[in-house]
Symmetry: C2
Subunit: 146 residues, 2 copies
DNA sequence: TTTTTATCAAGAACTATTCTAAATAATAAT
DNA sequence: ATTATTATTTAGAATAGTTCTTGATAAAAA
Protein backbone atom coordinates (compact mmCIF):
# COMPACT_ATOMS: atom_id res chain seq x y z
CA UNK A 1 0.00 0.00 0.00
CA UNK A 2 1.52 3.30 -1.01
CA UNK A 3 2.10 6.24 1.32
CA UNK A 4 -0.30 8.11 -0.82
CA UNK A 5 -3.12 5.65 -0.38
CA UNK A 6 -2.57 5.54 3.35
CA UNK A 7 -3.23 9.25 3.46
CA UNK A 8 -6.45 8.72 1.61
CA UNK A 9 -7.47 6.08 4.12
CA UNK A 10 -7.04 8.58 6.96
CA UNK A 11 -9.42 10.88 5.18
CA UNK A 12 -12.34 8.50 5.15
CA UNK A 13 -15.10 10.26 7.03
CA UNK A 14 -17.44 7.92 8.83
CA UNK A 15 -19.68 10.74 9.91
CA UNK A 16 -20.37 12.60 13.15
CA UNK A 17 -19.53 10.49 16.19
CA UNK A 18 -17.98 7.65 14.18
CA UNK A 19 -14.32 6.69 14.09
CA UNK A 20 -11.62 5.34 11.90
CA UNK A 21 -10.23 2.33 13.76
CA UNK A 22 -7.29 -0.03 13.19
CA UNK A 23 -9.74 -2.78 12.25
CA UNK A 24 -11.48 -0.63 9.66
CA UNK A 25 -8.12 0.44 8.30
CA UNK A 26 -6.93 -3.15 7.89
CA UNK A 27 -10.15 -4.24 6.25
CA UNK A 28 -9.97 -1.34 3.85
CA UNK A 29 -6.30 -1.97 3.06
CA UNK A 30 -6.95 -5.62 2.34
CA UNK A 31 -9.72 -4.69 -0.07
CA UNK A 32 -7.62 -2.06 -1.82
CA UNK A 33 -4.84 -4.61 -2.19
CA UNK A 34 -7.10 -7.29 -3.70
CA UNK A 35 -7.97 -7.51 -7.35
CA UNK A 36 -10.36 -10.38 -6.77
CA UNK A 37 -13.61 -9.85 -4.92
CA UNK A 38 -13.19 -11.47 -1.55
CA UNK A 39 -16.06 -12.58 0.64
CA UNK A 40 -16.28 -11.40 4.25
CA UNK A 41 -14.65 -14.63 5.38
CA UNK A 42 -11.83 -14.22 2.88
CA UNK A 43 -11.26 -10.66 4.05
CA UNK A 44 -11.27 -11.99 7.61
CA UNK A 45 -8.54 -14.53 6.78
CA UNK A 46 -6.41 -11.90 5.04
CA UNK A 47 -6.75 -9.35 7.83
CA UNK A 48 -5.97 -11.98 10.46
CA UNK A 49 -2.42 -12.12 9.07
CA UNK A 50 -1.86 -8.55 10.15
CA UNK A 51 -4.07 -8.44 13.24
CA UNK A 52 -4.62 -11.81 14.79
CA UNK A 53 -7.18 -10.59 17.32
CA UNK A 54 -9.80 -9.45 14.82
CA UNK A 55 -13.09 -11.31 14.75
CA UNK A 56 -15.34 -12.21 11.85
CA UNK A 57 -18.18 -10.15 13.31
CA UNK A 58 -15.90 -7.13 13.29
CA UNK A 59 -15.02 -7.72 9.67
CA UNK A 60 -18.74 -7.70 8.89
CA UNK A 61 -19.12 -4.50 10.90
CA UNK A 62 -16.21 -2.85 9.14
CA UNK A 63 -17.41 -3.89 5.71
CA UNK A 64 -20.87 -2.53 6.47
CA UNK A 65 -19.36 0.71 7.72
CA UNK A 66 -17.17 1.06 4.61
CA UNK A 67 -20.07 0.27 2.32
CA UNK A 68 -22.20 2.73 4.28
CA UNK A 69 -19.74 5.55 3.72
CA UNK A 70 -19.49 4.57 0.09
CA UNK A 71 -15.80 3.71 -0.20
CA UNK A 72 -16.45 0.03 -0.85
CA UNK A 73 -18.96 -1.78 -3.01
CA UNK A 74 -20.89 -4.88 -2.11
CA UNK A 75 -21.32 -7.35 -4.95
CA UNK A 76 -23.99 -10.02 -4.78
CA UNK A 77 -23.74 -13.09 -6.92
CA UNK A 78 -26.76 -15.35 -6.90
CA UNK A 79 -27.13 -17.15 -3.62
CA UNK A 80 -23.44 -17.00 -2.92
CA UNK A 81 -21.91 -15.03 -0.06
CA UNK A 82 -21.58 -11.31 -0.69
CA UNK A 83 -18.29 -10.15 -2.14
CA UNK A 84 -16.62 -6.81 -1.59
CA UNK A 85 -14.89 -4.59 -4.05
CA UNK A 86 -12.65 -1.57 -3.55
CA UNK A 87 -12.99 -0.37 -7.15
CA UNK A 88 -15.27 2.63 -7.05
CA UNK A 89 -15.03 3.59 -10.72
CA UNK A 90 -18.39 2.94 -12.33
CA UNK A 91 -17.98 -0.56 -13.71
CA UNK A 92 -19.78 -3.82 -14.20
CA UNK A 93 -18.99 -7.41 -13.27
CA UNK A 94 -18.47 -10.38 -15.52
CA UNK A 95 -19.38 -13.71 -13.97
CA UNK A 96 -18.01 -16.85 -15.53
CA UNK A 97 -20.63 -19.54 -15.21
CA UNK A 98 -18.03 -22.25 -15.72
CA UNK A 99 -15.23 -21.36 -13.31
CA UNK A 100 -17.35 -19.05 -11.10
CA UNK A 101 -14.81 -16.25 -11.25
CA UNK A 102 -15.92 -12.64 -11.02
CA UNK A 103 -14.03 -9.91 -12.80
CA UNK A 104 -14.40 -6.17 -13.15
CA UNK A 105 -15.25 -4.89 -16.60
CA UNK A 106 -15.01 -1.24 -17.48
CA UNK A 107 -17.80 0.64 -19.14
CA UNK A 108 -17.34 1.93 -22.65
CA UNK A 109 -16.70 5.65 -22.60
CA UNK A 110 -19.88 7.57 -22.00
CA UNK A 111 -21.97 4.46 -21.56
CA UNK A 112 -24.59 4.50 -18.83
CA UNK A 113 -26.53 1.25 -18.47
CA UNK A 114 -29.34 2.96 -16.58
CA UNK A 115 -30.06 4.76 -19.83
CA UNK A 116 -31.06 1.53 -21.51
CA UNK A 117 -34.19 1.11 -19.41
CA UNK A 118 -37.58 2.79 -19.50
CA UNK A 119 -37.69 4.15 -15.98
CA UNK A 120 -41.01 4.73 -14.25
CA UNK A 121 -41.87 8.42 -14.55
CA UNK A 122 -40.65 10.31 -11.50
CA UNK A 123 -38.23 7.66 -10.28
CA UNK A 124 -34.89 8.87 -8.99
CA UNK A 125 -31.85 6.82 -9.96
CA UNK A 126 -29.08 6.47 -7.41
CA UNK A 127 -26.91 3.74 -8.92
CA UNK A 128 -26.95 0.63 -11.06
CA UNK A 129 -25.57 -2.85 -10.85
CA UNK A 130 -24.81 -4.63 -14.07
CA UNK A 131 -23.71 -8.23 -14.14
CA UNK A 132 -22.87 -9.93 -17.42
CA UNK A 133 -22.79 -13.71 -17.31
CA UNK A 134 -21.26 -16.24 -19.62
CA UNK A 135 -17.92 -17.93 -20.21
CA UNK A 136 -14.65 -16.17 -19.50
CA UNK A 137 -12.02 -16.27 -22.27
CA UNK A 138 -10.02 -18.95 -20.49
CA UNK A 139 -13.01 -21.27 -20.13
CA UNK A 140 -14.01 -20.69 -23.77
CA UNK A 141 -10.49 -21.68 -24.81
CA UNK A 142 -10.46 -24.81 -22.66
CA UNK A 143 -13.81 -25.88 -24.04
CA UNK A 144 -12.66 -25.43 -27.65
CA UNK A 145 -9.59 -27.58 -27.10
CA UNK A 146 -11.67 -30.64 -26.24
CA UNK B 1 -54.71 -18.27 -15.75
CA UNK B 2 -55.93 -18.55 -19.33
CA UNK B 3 -56.51 -21.78 -21.20
CA UNK B 4 -53.82 -20.65 -23.52
CA UNK B 5 -51.25 -20.30 -20.81
CA UNK B 6 -52.09 -23.68 -19.40
CA UNK B 7 -51.26 -25.22 -22.74
CA UNK B 8 -47.90 -23.54 -22.66
CA UNK B 9 -47.23 -24.94 -19.21
CA UNK B 10 -47.75 -28.46 -20.53
CA UNK B 11 -45.10 -27.81 -23.10
CA UNK B 12 -42.32 -27.03 -20.66
CA UNK B 13 -39.60 -29.56 -21.37
CA UNK B 14 -37.56 -30.47 -18.34
CA UNK B 15 -35.23 -32.61 -20.37
CA UNK B 16 -34.66 -36.31 -20.84
CA UNK B 17 -35.89 -38.29 -17.86
CA UNK B 18 -37.44 -35.33 -16.11
CA UNK B 19 -41.12 -34.71 -15.54
CA UNK B 20 -43.76 -32.08 -15.32
CA UNK B 21 -45.47 -32.66 -11.98
CA UNK B 22 -48.47 -31.12 -10.23
CA UNK B 23 -46.11 -29.34 -7.83
CA UNK B 24 -44.08 -27.81 -10.62
CA UNK B 25 -47.25 -26.80 -12.40
CA UNK B 26 -48.64 -25.03 -9.33
CA UNK B 27 -45.36 -23.25 -8.65
CA UNK B 28 -45.19 -22.10 -12.23
CA UNK B 29 -48.83 -20.99 -12.25
CA UNK B 30 -48.35 -18.96 -9.09
CA UNK B 31 -45.37 -17.22 -10.61
CA UNK B 32 -47.17 -16.48 -13.86
CA UNK B 33 -50.07 -15.07 -11.87
CA UNK B 34 -47.87 -12.77 -9.76
CA UNK B 35 -46.75 -9.35 -10.83
CA UNK B 36 -44.62 -8.91 -7.75
CA UNK B 37 -41.46 -10.94 -7.30
CA UNK B 38 -42.24 -13.44 -4.58
CA UNK B 39 -39.63 -15.19 -2.50
CA UNK B 40 -39.58 -18.98 -2.24
CA UNK B 41 -41.49 -18.76 1.02
CA UNK B 42 -44.11 -16.47 -0.51
CA UNK B 43 -44.52 -18.86 -3.43
CA UNK B 44 -44.87 -21.66 -0.89
CA UNK B 45 -47.67 -19.83 0.93
CA UNK B 46 -49.50 -19.10 -2.33
CA UNK B 47 -49.20 -22.65 -3.62
CA UNK B 48 -50.32 -24.08 -0.30
CA UNK B 49 -53.76 -22.59 -0.96
CA UNK B 50 -54.16 -24.88 -3.93
CA UNK B 51 -52.18 -27.88 -2.71
CA UNK B 52 -51.97 -28.10 1.03
CA UNK B 53 -49.55 -31.02 1.05
CA UNK B 54 -46.69 -29.23 -0.71
CA UNK B 55 -43.51 -28.63 1.29
CA UNK B 56 -41.14 -25.69 1.23
CA UNK B 57 -38.27 -27.93 0.12
CA UNK B 58 -40.34 -28.96 -2.86
CA UNK B 59 -41.01 -25.34 -3.76
CA UNK B 60 -37.26 -24.77 -3.75
CA UNK B 61 -36.78 -27.85 -5.93
CA UNK B 62 -39.46 -26.72 -8.35
CA UNK B 63 -38.09 -23.19 -8.56
CA UNK B 64 -34.61 -24.56 -9.22
CA UNK B 65 -36.00 -26.86 -11.90
CA UNK B 66 -37.92 -24.02 -13.57
CA UNK B 67 -34.92 -21.73 -13.42
CA UNK B 68 -32.78 -24.56 -14.78
CA UNK B 69 -35.01 -24.98 -17.84
CA UNK B 70 -35.05 -21.25 -18.27
CA UNK B 71 -38.76 -20.50 -17.91
CA UNK B 72 -38.30 -18.55 -14.70
CA UNK B 73 -35.74 -15.99 -13.59
CA UNK B 74 -34.10 -15.77 -10.22
CA UNK B 75 -33.58 -12.23 -8.96
CA UNK B 76 -31.11 -11.53 -6.21
CA UNK B 77 -31.35 -8.35 -4.18
CA UNK B 78 -28.48 -7.70 -1.87
CA UNK B 79 -28.48 -10.05 1.07
CA UNK B 80 -32.20 -10.56 0.88
CA UNK B 81 -33.88 -13.84 0.00
CA UNK B 82 -33.94 -14.68 -3.70
CA UNK B 83 -37.00 -13.63 -5.60
CA UNK B 84 -38.51 -15.32 -8.61
CA UNK B 85 -39.92 -13.80 -11.71
CA UNK B 86 -42.00 -15.29 -14.52
CA UNK B 87 -41.34 -12.45 -16.94
CA UNK B 88 -38.90 -13.78 -19.51
CA UNK B 89 -38.82 -10.75 -21.77
CA UNK B 90 -35.38 -9.19 -21.48
CA UNK B 91 -35.88 -6.57 -18.80
CA UNK B 92 -34.23 -5.00 -15.80
CA UNK B 93 -35.29 -4.44 -12.22
CA UNK B 94 -35.79 -1.22 -10.36
CA UNK B 95 -35.19 -1.44 -6.63
CA UNK B 96 -36.60 1.28 -4.43
CA UNK B 97 -34.16 1.86 -1.61
CA UNK B 98 -36.84 3.49 0.50
CA UNK B 99 -39.76 1.08 0.35
CA UNK B 100 -37.72 -1.94 -0.77
CA UNK B 101 -40.09 -2.74 -3.61
CA UNK B 102 -38.81 -4.38 -6.77
CA UNK B 103 -40.39 -3.66 -10.13
CA UNK B 104 -39.80 -4.78 -13.68
CA UNK B 105 -38.61 -2.11 -16.07
CA UNK B 106 -38.58 -2.67 -19.80
CA UNK B 107 -35.56 -2.01 -21.94
CA UNK B 108 -35.68 0.78 -24.49
CA UNK B 109 -36.13 -0.64 -27.98
CA UNK B 110 -32.91 -2.10 -29.26
CA UNK B 111 -31.03 -1.42 -26.05
CA UNK B 112 -28.64 -4.11 -24.87
CA UNK B 113 -26.93 -3.33 -21.58
CA UNK B 114 -24.16 -5.86 -22.23
CA UNK B 115 -23.10 -3.57 -25.06
CA UNK B 116 -22.14 -0.87 -22.61
CA UNK B 117 -19.20 -2.81 -21.19
CA UNK B 118 -15.73 -3.54 -22.51
CA UNK B 119 -15.84 -7.30 -22.42
CA UNK B 120 -12.65 -9.29 -22.05
CA UNK B 121 -11.57 -10.46 -25.52
CA UNK B 122 -12.94 -13.93 -26.22
CA UNK B 123 -15.57 -13.93 -23.50
CA UNK B 124 -18.93 -15.40 -24.38
CA UNK B 125 -22.00 -13.58 -23.11
CA UNK B 126 -24.97 -15.63 -22.07
CA UNK B 127 -27.14 -13.10 -20.26
CA UNK B 128 -27.09 -9.98 -18.17
CA UNK B 129 -28.68 -8.76 -14.99
CA UNK B 130 -29.28 -5.07 -14.62
CA UNK B 131 -30.56 -3.57 -11.41
CA UNK B 132 -31.23 0.13 -11.13
CA UNK B 133 -31.53 1.47 -7.62
CA UNK B 134 -33.01 4.63 -6.25
CA UNK B 135 -36.38 5.99 -5.18
CA UNK B 136 -39.59 4.86 -6.79
CA UNK B 137 -42.01 7.58 -7.94
CA UNK B 138 -44.28 7.06 -4.95
CA UNK B 139 -41.44 7.45 -2.44
CA UNK B 140 -40.14 10.54 -4.26
CA UNK B 141 -43.63 12.06 -4.02
CA UNK B 142 -43.99 11.27 -0.31
CA UNK B 143 -40.61 12.78 0.43
CA UNK B 144 -41.43 16.00 -1.42
CA UNK B 145 -44.66 16.44 0.54
CA UNK B 146 -42.79 16.69 3.84
C1' DT C 1 -45.94 -56.99 -13.02
C1' DT C 2 -41.50 -55.83 -11.60
C1' DT C 3 -37.75 -52.65 -11.76
C1' DT C 4 -35.92 -48.41 -12.22
C1' DT C 5 -35.80 -43.64 -11.72
C1' DA C 6 -37.58 -39.12 -10.52
C1' DT C 7 -39.88 -36.63 -7.31
C1' DC C 8 -41.78 -35.46 -2.87
C1' DA C 9 -42.27 -34.48 2.21
C1' DA C 10 -40.50 -33.63 6.69
C1' DG C 11 -37.27 -32.32 9.24
C1' DA C 12 -32.36 -32.08 10.23
C1' DA C 13 -28.22 -29.79 8.86
C1' DC C 14 -25.62 -26.13 6.94
C1' DT C 15 -23.88 -21.56 6.30
C1' DA C 16 -23.85 -16.68 5.78
C1' DT C 17 -25.09 -13.14 8.47
C1' DT C 18 -26.88 -10.65 12.45
C1' DC C 19 -27.54 -10.09 17.24
C1' DT C 20 -26.23 -9.95 22.26
C1' DA C 21 -23.65 -8.88 26.12
C1' DA C 22 -19.62 -7.86 28.22
C1' DA C 23 -15.06 -5.73 27.60
C1' DT C 24 -12.26 -2.11 25.60
C1' DA C 25 -11.03 2.17 23.87
C1' DA C 26 -11.75 6.63 22.27
C1' DT C 27 -14.01 11.05 23.00
C1' DA C 28 -16.47 14.53 25.70
C1' DA C 29 -17.63 16.65 30.01
C1' DT C 30 -16.57 17.89 34.49
C1' DA D 1 -6.76 14.61 35.35
C1' DT D 2 -11.03 12.09 36.34
C1' DT D 3 -15.24 10.67 35.21
C1' DA D 4 -18.95 9.82 32.12
C1' DT D 5 -20.47 8.83 27.68
C1' DT D 6 -20.46 6.68 23.43
C1' DA D 7 -18.53 3.85 19.71
C1' DT D 8 -16.37 -0.21 18.75
C1' DT D 9 -14.71 -4.85 19.36
C1' DT D 10 -14.99 -9.63 20.59
C1' DA D 11 -16.86 -14.22 21.14
C1' DG D 12 -20.33 -16.82 20.90
C1' DA D 13 -25.27 -17.55 20.51
C1' DA D 14 -29.12 -16.93 17.53
C1' DT D 15 -31.40 -16.38 13.12
C1' DA D 16 -32.86 -17.23 8.53
C1' DG D 17 -32.52 -18.73 3.93
C1' DT D 18 -31.33 -22.63 1.64
C1' DT D 19 -29.70 -27.31 0.95
C1' DC D 20 -29.34 -32.02 2.28
C1' DT D 21 -30.97 -36.64 3.88
C1' DT D 22 -34.03 -40.28 4.29
C1' DG D 23 -37.80 -42.89 3.49
C1' DA D 24 -42.15 -42.76 0.97
C1' DT D 25 -44.64 -42.10 -3.39
C1' DA D 26 -45.46 -42.12 -8.10
C1' DA D 27 -44.44 -42.19 -12.75
C1' DA D 28 -41.95 -44.48 -16.56
C1' DA D 29 -39.44 -48.37 -18.47
C1' DA D 30 -38.56 -53.19 -18.82
Amino acid sequence: MSQNNNKIIEQINFGEGHRMTPQRRFVYEVLMGSIDHPTATEVFIRVKDKMDSISLATVYNCLDALVGVGVVRQVNVDREPSRYCGNLEPHAHFHCETCASVMDVDLKEGADPSNSVKLPRGAKVEKFELAVRGQCPECVRLKNKK
